[in-house]
Amino acid sequence: MIFTLALQLSHFSAATLFAFFFSIVFGITQRNTPNEMVRYGAYCFAMALGGLFVAGWFMWLLHH
């Protein structure tokens, strides 16, 4: 195997990176003007992070 780097990320870091990348693509592909693209990309990123926090606290409540 040539590529031997084994990056270790927490679930939160991985989900944040995931949200960052898909928000860029969603912003560009789902809207027509540059201004709308930036706003929709930011909206997607905010909703993903918000959902992450909500899901995290929900699981904490289930656990306790």
């Binding site: 590529f3 780097l5 990056l7 679930h11 995931f18 990348f21 898909f22 860029i24 693509v25 560009i28």
Partner: protein, 141 residues
Amino acid sequence: MAKTETTTPDTQSSTAAVPFTAVAALAPAIGWLIPGAGHLMQRRWIRGLLLMAAVAGMFAFGVAMQGKVYQANTGDLLDILGFIGDLGSGAFYFMARIFEWGGTSITSANADYGTKFIVVAGLLNIMAAVDAYHIAIGKKE
């Protein structure tokens, strides 16, 4: 009260048939093979570079987390679906297979995240290729 539909000149022009050009055929194909290139060839420089960076970044993080790169002929239905998703990354997938990037099995939580990153990078690239096609046929600016 029933809502009446009116047809404006704008809606008429957007639904009218558009000629299928060479660019309309090439843009999604090149966009699939090289993420973002479908936009770059139509002079959407910033969009093309951002799409390229997003798909490449997601794929690279997936590989770095030792995500599994699926193969075509395992016979497992879920593996076939994973392969279709991975294949969406175009050249990145072929490079991963040639240079044996990523893992061959999912052995940790991070490898599982990485596997999803690689599959979703391919799916996002398909969205980008479809967007390039929409630009080529004039459906989008």
